[in-house]
């Protein structure tokens, strides 16, 4: 029997992932420890490592396949004494997941994945799973996936009542129904048990407990670190955008225009140019040195299902409005579809967050480390302004800049704000 390589679960909530790339070809000799393929999920790329030796007999799921179900067959390895004929009879349909993999792939650590034989019941992230013998037996009898069950025993141990609750709720069944898997995962732990044993909720009303996705955990960790460790300070400015709106209208209504430039595209362009002109704001703090970036890689916060992500427009200062606009649109689309490549959302030098479309007048953001600053964009609205000693109506937008005081001082931040305001209020200059 050829050895089955199955799609690994790289996080407790992962139900599918992208098989990004095979690093071995059919016919290649496989040594234990060889990296077979790369898998992409959430925010990370992980490697699938071989535990067994043999010859990569057949790749069942080709490079670049999206939404490969966890535990579905992705390749077959021929053992020493087997030849290609052994592949017949092996399961041909790659879409069929293995309900109880004998030879599954379980991640050993964050970035490595090894094909270890499954222990009694490993948790999906490879850490030891605590469950009573009775709970394990009932779960085995009922084909219940223990990793889907929240434990309420001592130190979160899974005990009989948790299994009974899961069975009653119909969750965590390892039935061969791949299409229903994501939905199950989304609701399973919540229905099983609160999963929190914090007395602070003792007198709270009834609640549904939604387990944190890996993205949620990353957001929580990074922003907590940022808010705690980075001395933020904030600069606010109102900019008039009547001229900008006019320019935008003109550009978009040109004959043969195959673009539709948004207000945000202008802001991205203006901010990138302003950073180019005040390079002391395009920096990152490290304990030993301040890194002054030679290019503006502008990150744009995009809200997506279950969190947010910041795709990056590389070298934004040197790109024209139409190019910027097209890139921003494409990246936002990829972000919402969860198809961003790691290099598309890692390594920006500055971030823009826009909540203007929700009517938010102005707000401040938490810096996305290791970047040095983040610009928060409010809604453009008609406001009363004083011009030459008289009241007038203008379209005004409030911008807030939050910077890391460890590497950007007040005057430097103010210089950037000044440039930014000038560029937005005189948009023709953006064309230069």
């Amino acid at each position: 029997m050829p050895i089955e390589i199955l799609m690994p679960a790289l996080s407790p909530t992962m139900t599918e992932g992208k098989l990004a790339k095979w690093l071995k070809n059919e016919g290649d000799t496989i040594e234990s420890g060889d990296v077979l393929a790369e898998i992409e999920t959430d925010k990370a790329t992980m490697e699938v490592e071989a535990v067994d030796e043999g010859i990569l007999g057949k790749i069942m799921v080709p490079d670049g396949t999206d939404a490969v179900q966890v535990n579905s067959l992705i390749a077959l390895i021929l053992e020493e004494d087997e030849d290609a004929s052994a592949l017949e009879g092996a399961r041909a349909n790659s879409a069929t997941p293995a309900p109880a993999p004998a030879q599954s792939v379980a991640p050993a650590e964050a970035s490595k994945v090894s094909t270890t034989p499954a222990p009694a019941a490993p948790s999906a992230d490879g850490s030891r799973l605590f469950a009573s013998p009775l709970a394990r037996r009932i779960a085995a009898d009922e084909n219940l996936d223990l990793t889907q069950v929240a434990g309420t025993g001592p130190r979160g141990r899974i005990v009989k009542r948790d299994i009974e609750a899961a069975l009653a709720a119909g969750t965590g069944k390892t039935a061969p129904a791949p299409t229903s898997a994501p939905a199950q995962t989304a609701t399973a732990p919540a229905a099983v048990a609160p999963g929190v044993d914090d007395p602070i909720f003792a007198y709270s009303p009834e609640y549904e407990s939604v387990p944190n996705t890996s993205m949620r955990k990353i957001i929580a960790r990074r922003l907590t670190e940022s808010a705690r460790d980075i001395p933020h300070f904030n600069l606010q400015v109102d900019v008039e955008i009547d001229k900008l709106m006019e320019t935008r209208k003109e550009l978009n209504s040109r004959d043969g225009a195959d673009y539709k430039i948004s207000v945000n595209d202008f802001i991205v362009k203006a901010a990138s140019l302003a950073l180019k002109r005040v390079p002391d704001c395009n920096v990152a703090f490290t304990p030993d040195a301040i890194l002054k970036f030679k290019q503006v890689d502008m990150a744009i916060a995009v809200a997506i299902e279950g969190g947010l992500i910041t795709p990056i427009i590389k070298d934004a200062a040197s790109k024209g409005l139409a190019t910027l606009s097209a890139e921003a649109k494409e990246l936002a689309g990829k972000a919402r579809d969860g198809k961003l490549m790691p290099e598309e959302f890692q390594g920006g030098t500055f971030t823009i967050s826009n909540l203007g479309m929700f009517g938010v007048k102005g707000f401040t953001s938490i810096i996305n480390p290791p970047q040095g600053g983040i610009l928060s964009v409010g809604a453009g609205e008609q406001r009363a302004v004083v011009k030459d000693g008289a009241l007038a109506v203008a379209t005004v937008m409030t911008l807030n800049l939050a910077v890391d005081h460890r590497c950007i001082d007040g005057a430097v931040g103010a210089a950037f704000i000044k440039e930014l305001k000038a560029l937005i209020e005189d948009p023709i200059a953006l064309m230069l």
């Binding site: 009573s132 013998p133 709970a135 044993d197 007395p199 003792a202």
Partner: protein, 467 residues
Amino acid sequence: MADTNFDVIVIGGGPGGYVAAIRAAQLGLKTALVEKEHLGGICLNWGCIPTKALLRSAEIYNHMKHASAFGLSVKGVDFDLTKIVERSRGISKQLNSGVGHLLKKNKVTVFDGFAKLLGDGKLSVEKDGKKVSDLTSKHIILATGARAKVFPGMEPDGKLVWTYREALVPKTMPKSLLVIGSGAIGIEFASFYMTLGADVTVVEVMPQIMPFEDAEISDIARKSMEKQGMKILTESMVKELKRGKDNVTVVVEKGGKKQEIVVDVVISAVGVTPNTESIGLEAAGVKLDERGFVAIDDYCQTSAKGIYAIGDVAGAPCLAHKASHEGVICVEKIAGEKGVHPLDKSRIPGCTYCNPQVASVGMTEQQAKDKGLDIKVGRFPFMGNGKAIALGEPEGLVKTIFDAKTGELLGAHMVGAEVTEMIQGFGIAKALETTEADLMHTVFPHPTLSEMMHESVLDAFGKAIHF
């Protein structure tokens, strides 16, 4: 001016209350304990502990009478009742002061008096009818315990009709004795007085003695005690006590037929009733359940915010270890400790120290059947155990009940020598949710009585070796 405001005040210094107070103090809460009579409560002063002291005297006396079976010759075996009682009282006194030291060591402030709730986190402490303190606390734990239940016409008089109190400090040995009720308290006194030579009759309304125990175990205990000379009347009810000058005529009815039994002393052991009166429950808004106990949730919270109840006053089973465990859960929850879990009452072991001893945890065979469970039952008799034979204790049985489908240990029931010290093995098994496989894989030391626990498990799955 002494402190009057505390983080936690515990009312009652029994095994529930004093344990709760010590745990609260350990968790850094400023804690007070109000006790009206003696630290350690009934358990330590008038219950568990002094009865065990008496029963130990009886046990040794019994061994001495049978010394020849062990190749020993002992002549003139006799006992001094006054000294047996003195020993028992001395042990209670020793432990009572031990509790006092523990409370002091943990900086629990002890108030000597009777506490009464006034509502809004206030309570008063009275001593001899006079108020001695007014105390306030956000968290008040009721641990007032229970007392002997009394049926009309059977009120104890201290001379002819006793409760456990009088039965613990007999001045003379009654020649004949009738015990009403065959629960743990009744059967232990029956066993004690019988061993010391009294003519003992036990009257029980239920079809078996120790009605909460597994029927098979109860039956073995009954036969053993009847062999020792005890008269046991089940499905029988005491209808009337006719108190004479030096004896009582007891009218017992069974199946419509009445008989009269004349005895020196009657011990009433028909159960306990919670101490819920005159402690201000109404003022504080604390509600009782349909059986008269204080109603609590999983973490001992009563219907009134900030008032908790643990132990006997909060409902059955009225056992010291249940009270202590609830005390700890309650206090840890108050202190916001992590990982506090409600008490699973199906895992509370019960022990009766009659001769032979009875111990159990979990479901009886009948309870499992009534639940419609498919079960496997294992049995192993003392007769098949080397250590039991060597001890000269060949009577008894270890019985285990498993769920046939899941291998869950549903219940364990034992009768025989030292079973009260063994039951906790199955208690751990239940707490850890082991299956029969884990118990089978456990190595039991040889030669011990505990090997019977192993064999009983093996027997449930047809694998017993020594029987």
